[in-house]
Symmetry: C2
Subunit: 416 residues, 2 copies
Amino acid sequence: MSTRVLAADLPRHVGRPVKLAGWVHRRRELKSVTFVVVRDRSGLAQVVLTEPVALPEETVVEVHATVTANAQAPGGVELTEAVVTALSSPAKPPPFDLYRPTVPASLPTILDHAPVALRHPRLRAPFAVAAASVAGFRRALDGLGFVETHTPKIVGTATESGANVFGIDYFGRPAYLAQSPQFFKQALVGVFERVCEVGPVFRAEPHDTSRHLAQYTSLDAELGFIADHCDVMAVLREAIAGMVSGVASHAAAELSLLGAVLPDVPAEIPEIHFSDVTDKDDLSPADERELSRWASSEHGSDFLFVTGYPMAKRPFYTHPDPARPEYSNSFDLLFRGVELVTGGQRLHRHEDYLAALAARGENPAAYEDYLAVFAHGMPPHGGFAIGLERWTARLLDVANVRQVTLFPRDLHRLNP
Amino acid sequence: MSTRVLAADLPRHVGRPVKLAGWVHRRRELKSVTFVVVRDRSGLAQVVLTEPVALPEETVVEVHATVTANAQAPGGVELTEAVVTALSSPAKPPPFDLYRPTVPASLPTILDHAPVALRHPRLRAPFAVAAASVAGFRRALDGLGFVETHTPKIVGTATESGANVFGIDYFGRPAYLAQSPQFFKQALVGVFERVCEVGPVFRAEPHDTSRHLAQYTSLDAELGFIADHCDVMAVLREAIAGMVSGVASHAAAELSLLGAVLPDVPAEIPEIHFSDVTDKDDLSPADERELSRWASSEHGSDFLFVTGYPMAKRPFYTHPDPARPEYSNSFDLLFRGVELVTGGQRLHRHEDYLAALAARGENPAAYEDYLAVFAHGMPPHGGFAIGLERWTARLLDVANVRQVTLFPRDLHRLNP
């Protein structure tokens, strides 16, 4: 049996017989000739038949044929003298035409029928971009000595915030889905110094918006032996550059299909201190958009670090700015108008944790496991978390994060 | 401020001043000299002081000193003329001595104090091996055109098996933690043809054994356009070879510390058909050990494929052997006496799914989302799942899977 040739590789086989396999993407019957466009994971190929075929779109086919040069055909080749065999027939048609250049369907229709809708090249492309981004993230951090970890998603206490956690029945006991790997990645700085994790995080978000999901993919990193948050920002810059470079090398075709343009990542991402931005205690989405426009016009950068958020707006484990303790050694990274990353230096001394909890009127007993980490000598450390779906959405200029999430979960959606 | 030098890099700095940072691993005071061994992520370094220092083990220190050759010292160098500064002091000692070559603690003690216990080089090492294995898995599959995905861990129906699922309160509705990405990876074969995922899976295992966990890390792959399960086994062979090669290149020191030996992965892993092994309807753990011994003595292989498990023992989506329909186009991969991987060809025709559910007396309405995948033309496909912790445990000859799991979750354990 001959080996399968992918559509994208056909031009290397001109004049030779090949076996192609894929889906009937489109069928067009003219008077004396039938064109069948076959879709496989590499792209499209045109098959020319002299007889009509009764194969509806999305039939899975195997094609034995000869590769013939034809400047008019996609990729400069078409398949002639073809014998087409159906491997599997659809029981019903797709909810919309998968072959049209634009997507003739609403987001709910797409999401309700995701397993077939995502076959549309434009709907599939964001996930190739996401995969390339994650690969680039890992490559960058691997080069910097980070160890990748896999930590529990079921936790006994809802440390980060009491609200918005999903409860589980854990063998008759209450437990929760982890909102982040924060506790574990900090603990593992004591073991590996530099750790990263790519994994699901869970938020019982009661908001029904275009950017809130019940589960998303968090790209986490944490590192020890830093001077302050600037060392964390330097690693984050490398991670983002790795993601951009991953997309450039592994998903250029998808990027181009979607008409998206990769950002330049400046060697030094511009930064501005929170106190130079506003007298308020937080930034609104409108503030973030305005700051991004400023970074673009002033520095020619799609990225901007906002540093020094007020301590009152950051979690209890945030390290204060030693010179101005009302501000923190933390940052957000804005990307094309939205907050993409949050990070900063964390407290590392046991006594500082006790003081921080006391200052917020929290009971240290509720943080027993967390505090135990810092009882044993922890170095100055910090980290960050990048939301993968938010990154992909912004990179591709997609309005709703659900368009770049495989089978999104939200307030209303639990299927498919 | 000078740049930090890692312990492993000191030999390249003989005669020069350096900054080292890490933890006080061990302190030994002799009459006229004090030795402080400092541990960082790269290894150990000996610091020689002429005055005693009051720094208990696990103090985080920064050391400014000169690198001096000393054939007796670990790595052939030691640090002299040293100034040691504490960055952070432990509030209490570790539960056991971290500097002893063997681990003087029981498993429950280790797990109760994991954040500090894992600093012991022998307890830390398995996780470097696991990380290197995962990197090798991804590299192998990336080279074969697989796209890495991130799919939902919260599902609306407990498709795979009604038992052993964790229930969640999902905005007031019942939902479940996914026992595997089976549904999603099959659906995505229709989109990408070849997909893989590294992520958590959840089993509400009521068994209190050395190999059952409530969460583990599953290395999943699924591919379309196969002839049968043999094509899946060929990809699995490449994945395993990639994992072995990843450990060889990225965790050789840890492997050697633990006295473990990497297996050879035969170009063709030997295989045996279920019907040639037993007349029973399943294999016991003792059977698996005996078969592994046979593969080792007969074929010199640490790996053995057992193919053709009876259909009655496989999930409803399993593809039968066309020649002998009571047997399946499925396999287990045994590794050094245990089942490491399960996989096989799946059904791909809509009508075959309907027939398979009917034959098992199942209601197709309960599988609505799953069946929808196959209504739209799916190619012959199959896949496999490797349990990361089981792989690491067997590779390192560790008796209990909890020793190679970061913060394990089981019937009794939900913290730390």
